[in-house]
Symmetry: C2
Amino acid sequence: MNTKRDLIDGLSDELMRTFRRLRRSERKELTPFGLTFGQARALRLIARSGGGMRIGELATALEIVPRSATTMVDGLENAGFVARRPDPDDRRSVLVSCARPGFDLLDRLADVRRNSAEWLFAPLSPEERRELLRLLQATGKEPS
Amino acid sequence: MNTKRDLIDGLSDELMRTFRRLRRSERKELTPFGLTFGQARALRLIARSGGGMRIGELATALEIVPRSATTMVDGLENAGFVARRPDPDDRRSVLVSCARPGFDLLDRLADVRRNSAEWLFAPLSPEERRELLRLLQATGKEPS
DNA sequence: CGAATATCAGTGACACTGAAATTA
DNA sequence: CTAATTTCAGTGGCACTGATATTC
Protein backbone atom coordinates (compact mmCIF):
# COMPACT_ATOMS: atom_id res chain seq x y z
CA MET A 1 0.00 0.00 0.00
CA ASN A 2 2.99 2.19 0.39
CA THR A 3 3.88 1.46 -3.19
CA LYS A 4 0.39 2.36 -4.27
CA ARG A 5 0.59 5.71 -2.57
CA ASP A 6 3.95 6.44 -4.02
CA LEU A 7 2.70 5.59 -7.46
CA ILE A 8 -0.27 7.94 -7.29
CA ASP A 9 1.90 10.62 -5.77
CA GLY A 10 4.40 10.27 -8.56
CA LEU A 11 1.68 10.33 -11.17
CA SER A 12 0.27 13.55 -9.75
CA ASP A 13 3.69 15.13 -9.60
CA GLU A 14 4.69 14.15 -13.09
CA LEU A 15 1.36 15.12 -14.58
CA MET A 16 1.68 18.58 -13.11
CA ARG A 17 5.30 18.98 -14.00
CA THR A 18 4.75 17.93 -17.59
CA PHE A 19 1.72 20.11 -18.12
CA ARG A 20 3.41 23.16 -16.64
CA ARG A 21 6.37 22.79 -18.94
CA LEU A 22 4.10 22.53 -21.91
CA ARG A 23 2.10 25.57 -20.90
CA ARG A 24 5.17 27.68 -20.22
CA SER A 25 6.69 26.81 -23.56
CA GLU A 26 3.50 27.50 -25.47
CA ARG A 27 2.90 30.77 -23.64
CA LYS A 28 6.28 32.05 -24.62
CA GLU A 29 5.78 31.22 -28.27
CA LEU A 30 2.27 32.62 -28.26
CA THR A 31 3.23 36.06 -26.98
CA PRO A 32 4.17 37.54 -30.38
CA PHE A 33 0.71 36.68 -31.68
CA GLY A 34 -1.05 38.60 -28.93
CA LEU A 35 -2.78 35.52 -27.63
CA THR A 36 -2.66 33.86 -24.26
CA PHE A 37 -2.58 30.13 -23.73
CA GLY A 38 -6.25 30.05 -22.79
CA GLN A 39 -7.32 32.28 -25.64
CA ALA A 40 -5.56 30.12 -28.19
CA ARG A 41 -7.32 27.12 -26.78
CA ALA A 42 -10.69 28.86 -27.00
CA LEU A 43 -10.03 30.11 -30.50
CA ARG A 44 -9.30 26.58 -31.70
CA LEU A 45 -12.61 25.36 -30.37
CA ILE A 46 -14.55 28.30 -31.79
CA ALA A 47 -12.98 27.88 -35.21
CA ARG A 48 -13.68 24.18 -35.17
CA SER A 49 -17.34 24.81 -34.42
CA GLY A 50 -17.83 26.45 -37.78
CA GLY A 51 -21.16 28.21 -37.66
CA GLY A 52 -20.88 29.61 -34.18
CA MET A 53 -20.81 28.53 -30.59
CA ARG A 54 -22.80 29.61 -27.59
CA ILE A 55 -20.90 30.87 -24.55
CA GLY A 56 -22.26 28.00 -22.53
CA GLU A 57 -21.11 25.45 -25.09
CA LEU A 58 -17.66 26.96 -25.09
CA ALA A 59 -17.54 26.92 -21.31
CA THR A 60 -18.48 23.26 -21.23
CA ALA A 61 -15.84 22.41 -23.81
CA LEU A 62 -13.21 24.36 -21.88
CA GLU A 63 -14.39 22.90 -18.58
CA ILE A 64 -14.80 26.32 -17.00
CA VAL A 65 -17.85 28.22 -15.72
CA PRO A 66 -19.77 30.33 -18.26
CA ARG A 67 -18.76 33.57 -16.61
CA SER A 68 -15.12 32.82 -17.27
CA ALA A 69 -15.86 32.03 -20.90
CA THR A 70 -17.41 35.49 -21.25
CA THR A 71 -14.16 37.13 -20.21
CA MET A 72 -12.17 34.89 -22.49
CA VAL A 73 -14.37 35.78 -25.46
CA ASP A 74 -14.09 39.46 -24.52
CA GLY A 75 -10.36 39.26 -25.02
CA LEU A 76 -10.64 37.48 -28.33
CA GLU A 77 -13.32 39.88 -29.52
CA ASN A 78 -11.38 43.00 -28.54
CA ALA A 79 -8.44 41.64 -30.49
CA GLY A 80 -10.72 41.08 -33.47
CA PHE A 81 -10.24 37.32 -33.67
CA VAL A 82 -13.84 36.36 -33.01
CA ALA A 83 -17.23 38.04 -33.35
CA ARG A 84 -20.39 37.87 -31.30
CA ARG A 85 -23.80 37.85 -32.91
CA PRO A 86 -27.22 37.18 -31.46
CA ASP A 87 -28.64 33.72 -31.87
CA PRO A 88 -31.67 34.11 -34.15
CA ASP A 89 -33.36 31.09 -32.58
CA ASP A 90 -32.85 31.98 -28.93
CA ARG A 91 -32.56 35.58 -27.96
CA ARG A 92 -30.97 34.74 -24.64
CA SER A 93 -28.00 33.32 -26.48
CA VAL A 94 -25.01 34.73 -28.26
CA LEU A 95 -23.18 32.95 -31.03
CA VAL A 96 -19.43 33.34 -31.10
CA SER A 97 -17.74 32.66 -34.39
CA CYS A 98 -14.26 33.00 -35.75
CA ALA A 99 -13.60 36.27 -37.60
CA ARG A 100 -11.31 36.65 -40.57
CA PRO A 101 -8.20 37.63 -38.56
CA GLY A 102 -8.81 34.60 -36.37
CA PHE A 103 -9.00 32.28 -39.36
CA ASP A 104 -5.85 33.78 -40.79
CA LEU A 105 -4.08 32.91 -37.57
CA LEU A 106 -5.14 29.30 -37.30
CA ASP A 107 -2.38 27.71 -39.33
CA ARG A 108 0.38 29.60 -37.61
CA LEU A 109 -1.22 28.85 -34.28
CA ALA A 110 -1.17 25.17 -35.05
CA ASP A 111 2.51 25.45 -35.90
CA VAL A 112 3.22 27.19 -32.63
CA ARG A 113 1.40 24.54 -30.72
CA ARG A 114 3.17 21.71 -32.46
CA ASN A 115 6.56 23.36 -32.03
CA SER A 116 5.93 24.03 -28.37
CA ALA A 117 4.98 20.45 -27.72
CA GLU A 118 7.45 18.66 -29.90
CA TRP A 119 10.46 19.03 -27.65
CA LEU A 120 8.36 17.74 -24.78
CA PHE A 121 7.32 14.56 -26.54
CA ALA A 122 10.52 14.19 -28.52
CA PRO A 123 11.93 11.43 -26.27
CA LEU A 124 8.86 9.29 -26.95
CA SER A 125 8.52 7.01 -29.93
CA PRO A 126 5.34 7.16 -32.01
CA GLU A 127 4.14 4.00 -30.28
CA GLU A 128 4.83 5.49 -26.88
CA ARG A 129 2.99 8.65 -27.83
CA ARG A 130 -0.05 6.70 -28.84
CA GLU A 131 0.12 4.76 -25.61
CA LEU A 132 0.43 7.93 -23.57
CA LEU A 133 -2.55 9.41 -25.35
CA ARG A 134 -4.55 6.28 -24.73
CA LEU A 135 -3.71 6.25 -21.02
CA LEU A 136 -4.54 9.92 -20.57
CA GLN A 137 -7.84 9.49 -22.37
CA ALA A 138 -8.68 6.59 -20.11
CA THR A 139 -8.50 8.64 -16.92
CA GLY A 140 -11.64 9.43 -14.97
CA LYS A 141 -13.89 12.33 -15.77
CA GLU A 142 -15.55 13.17 -12.48
CA PRO A 143 -14.71 12.85 -8.81
CA SER A 144 -16.85 9.96 -7.68
CA MET B 1 2.29 13.91 -41.06
CA ASN B 2 -1.29 14.79 -40.52
CA THR B 3 -1.49 11.89 -38.12
CA LYS B 4 1.59 13.14 -36.35
CA ARG B 5 0.11 16.55 -35.85
CA ASP B 6 -3.13 15.15 -34.60
CA LEU B 7 -1.27 12.97 -32.16
CA ILE B 8 0.70 15.82 -30.61
CA ASP B 9 -2.40 17.97 -30.54
CA GLY B 10 -4.31 15.27 -28.76
CA LEU B 11 -1.51 14.72 -26.30
CA SER B 12 -1.43 18.40 -25.44
CA ASP B 13 -5.18 18.51 -25.03
CA GLU B 14 -5.38 15.42 -22.88
CA LEU B 15 -2.44 16.40 -20.75
CA MET B 16 -4.06 19.74 -19.96
CA ARG B 17 -7.47 18.29 -19.42
CA THR B 18 -6.22 15.62 -17.07
CA PHE B 19 -4.06 17.95 -15.04
CA ARG B 20 -6.83 20.50 -14.65
CA ARG B 21 -9.22 17.91 -13.36
CA LEU B 22 -6.70 16.76 -10.84
CA ARG B 23 -5.97 20.27 -9.68
CA ARG B 24 -9.61 21.20 -9.35
CA SER B 25 -10.36 18.12 -7.32
CA GLU B 26 -7.41 18.62 -5.03
CA ARG B 27 -8.16 22.30 -4.56
CA LYS B 28 -11.63 21.55 -3.41
CA GLU B 29 -10.49 19.00 -0.87
CA LEU B 30 -7.67 21.22 0.32
CA THR B 31 -9.87 24.20 1.17
CA PRO B 32 -10.87 23.02 4.66
CA PHE B 33 -7.21 22.80 5.60
CA GLY B 34 -6.54 26.41 4.70
CA LEU B 35 -4.01 25.46 2.06
CA THR B 36 -3.92 26.12 -1.63
CA PHE B 37 -2.79 23.64 -4.22
CA GLY B 38 0.56 25.35 -4.62
CA GLN B 39 1.12 25.72 -0.90
CA ALA B 40 0.48 22.05 -0.30
CA ARG B 41 3.00 21.23 -2.97
CA ALA B 42 5.57 23.52 -1.40
CA LEU B 43 4.92 22.21 2.09
CA ARG B 44 5.56 18.64 0.94
CA LEU B 45 8.92 19.63 -0.46
CA ILE B 46 9.90 21.64 2.59
CA ALA B 47 8.95 18.84 4.95
CA ARG B 48 10.86 16.35 2.86
CA SER B 49 13.99 18.48 3.06
CA GLY B 50 14.27 17.94 6.78
CA GLY B 51 16.78 20.41 8.05
CA GLY B 52 15.68 23.38 6.03
CA MET B 53 15.57 24.63 2.49
CA ARG B 54 16.72 27.82 0.91
CA ILE B 55 14.19 29.86 -1.05
CA GLY B 56 16.21 29.34 -4.18
CA GLU B 57 16.27 25.59 -3.71
CA LEU B 58 12.54 25.54 -3.22
CA ALA B 59 12.03 27.67 -6.33
CA THR B 60 14.13 25.29 -8.38
CA ALA B 61 12.21 22.30 -7.10
CA LEU B 62 8.90 23.98 -7.83
CA GLU B 63 10.12 25.20 -11.22
CA ILE B 64 9.19 28.79 -10.48
CA VAL B 65 11.27 31.96 -10.08
CA PRO B 66 12.62 32.69 -6.59
CA ARG B 67 10.44 35.74 -6.16
CA SER B 68 7.34 33.58 -6.47
CA ALA B 69 8.69 31.15 -3.90
CA THR B 70 9.03 34.05 -1.45
CA THR B 71 5.32 34.79 -1.71
CA MET B 72 4.45 31.13 -1.40
CA VAL B 73 6.51 30.79 1.76
CA ASP B 74 4.92 34.00 3.09
CA GLY B 75 1.55 32.31 2.96
CA LEU B 76 2.77 29.16 4.65
CA GLU B 77 4.58 31.15 7.30
CA ASN B 78 1.61 33.39 8.08
CA ALA B 79 -0.46 30.26 8.53
CA GLY B 80 2.17 28.89 10.89
CA PHE B 81 3.03 25.82 8.84
CA VAL B 82 6.65 26.70 8.16
CA ALA B 83 9.28 28.87 9.79
CA ARG B 84 12.08 31.00 8.41
CA ARG B 85 15.43 31.22 10.09
CA PRO B 86 18.69 32.75 8.93
CA ASP B 87 21.25 30.42 7.44
CA PRO B 88 24.17 30.43 9.87
CA ASP B 89 26.63 29.67 7.09
CA ASP B 90 25.45 32.26 4.58
CA ARG B 91 23.82 35.40 5.81
CA ARG B 92 22.29 36.10 2.42
CA SER B 93 20.20 32.99 2.74
CA VAL B 94 17.12 32.01 4.65
CA LEU B 95 16.32 28.47 5.65
CA VAL B 96 12.69 27.43 5.51
CA SER B 97 11.70 24.45 7.58
CA CYS B 98 8.47 22.75 8.47
CA ALA B 99 6.96 23.89 11.78
CA ARG B 100 5.02 21.68 14.14
CA PRO B 101 1.56 22.53 12.73
CA GLY B 102 2.91 21.75 9.30
CA PHE B 103 4.19 18.37 10.38
CA ASP B 104 0.90 17.59 12.03
CA LEU B 105 -0.82 18.21 8.73
CA LEU B 106 1.35 16.03 6.54
CA ASP B 107 -0.46 12.76 6.96
CA ARG B 108 -3.88 14.23 6.34
CA LEU B 109 -2.50 16.13 3.40
CA ALA B 110 -1.21 12.92 1.90
CA ASP B 111 -4.65 11.41 2.35
CA VAL B 112 -6.26 14.35 0.63
CA ARG B 113 -3.88 14.09 -2.23
CA ARG B 114 -4.40 10.38 -2.66
CA ASN B 115 -8.16 10.72 -2.44
CA SER B 116 -8.19 13.55 -4.95
CA ALA B 117 -6.18 11.59 -7.43
CA GLU B 118 -7.64 8.16 -6.98
CA TRP B 119 -10.81 8.69 -8.96
CA LEU B 120 -8.73 10.10 -11.78
CA PHE B 121 -6.49 7.08 -12.06
CA ALA B 122 -9.12 4.57 -11.05
CA PRO B 123 -9.75 3.36 -14.61
CA LEU B 124 -6.08 2.40 -14.96
CA SER B 125 -4.65 -0.91 -13.84
CA PRO B 126 -1.49 -0.90 -11.73
CA GLU B 127 0.51 -1.82 -14.79
CA GLU B 128 -1.03 1.01 -16.76
CA ARG B 129 -0.29 3.42 -13.96
CA ARG B 130 3.33 2.43 -13.92
CA GLU B 131 3.48 2.80 -17.67
CA LEU B 132 1.87 6.22 -17.52
CA LEU B 133 4.36 7.30 -14.89
CA ARG B 134 7.23 6.02 -16.98
CA LEU B 135 6.04 7.85 -20.10
CA LEU B 136 5.51 11.12 -18.24
CA GLN B 137 8.93 10.88 -16.67
CA ALA B 138 10.46 10.31 -20.07
CA THR B 139 9.23 13.62 -21.49
CA GLY B 140 11.69 16.39 -22.23
CA LYS B 141 12.89 18.81 -19.64
CA GLU B 142 13.82 21.90 -21.63
CA PRO B 143 12.68 23.52 -24.85
CA SER B 144 15.44 22.76 -27.27
C1' DC C 1 34.34 44.64 -8.06
C1' DG C 2 30.78 40.99 -9.94
C1' DA C 3 27.65 37.18 -8.46
C1' DA C 4 24.23 35.26 -5.57
C1' DT C 5 20.21 35.57 -2.44
C1' DA C 6 16.04 37.17 -0.89
C1' DT C 7 12.65 40.67 -0.83
C1' DC C 8 9.52 44.61 -2.45
C1' DA C 9 6.32 46.44 -5.98
C1' DG C 10 3.57 45.85 -9.75
C1' DT C 11 1.31 43.13 -13.48
C1' DG C 12 -0.98 39.47 -16.16
C1' DA C 13 -3.59 35.09 -16.76
C1' DC C 14 -7.33 32.70 -15.36
C1' DA C 15 -10.35 30.41 -12.50
C1' DC C 16 -14.00 31.12 -8.99
C1' DT C 17 -18.58 32.99 -6.66
C1' DG C 18 -22.72 35.77 -6.31
C1' DA C 19 -26.03 38.89 -8.28
C1' DA C 20 -28.60 40.96 -12.10
C1' DA C 21 -30.97 41.15 -16.61
C1' DT C 22 -33.16 38.99 -20.32
C1' DT C 23 -35.74 35.48 -22.46
C1' DA C 24 -37.48 30.49 -23.12
C1' DC D 1 -43.20 30.84 -12.13
C1' DT D 2 -38.99 28.17 -13.06
C1' DA D 3 -35.05 27.44 -15.71
C1' DA D 4 -31.52 28.76 -18.93
C1' DT D 5 -28.22 32.12 -20.76
C1' DT D 6 -25.18 35.76 -20.53
C1' DT D 7 -23.05 39.49 -18.32
C1' DC D 8 -21.32 42.54 -14.35
C1' DA D 9 -18.53 43.00 -10.14
C1' DG D 10 -15.34 41.34 -7.13
C1' DT D 11 -11.87 37.90 -5.40
C1' DG D 12 -8.20 34.42 -5.14
C1' DG D 13 -4.25 31.67 -6.99
C1' DC D 14 -0.09 31.94 -9.02
C1' DA D 15 3.17 32.96 -12.23
C1' DC D 16 6.04 36.75 -14.26
C1' DT D 17 9.46 41.02 -14.57
C1' DG D 18 12.27 44.76 -12.75
C1' DA D 19 14.44 47.05 -8.94
C1' DT D 20 16.68 47.06 -4.35
C1' DA D 21 19.42 45.65 -0.27
C1' DT D 22 22.52 42.57 1.67
C1' DT D 23 26.17 39.49 1.66
C1' DC D 24 29.61 36.26 -0.51
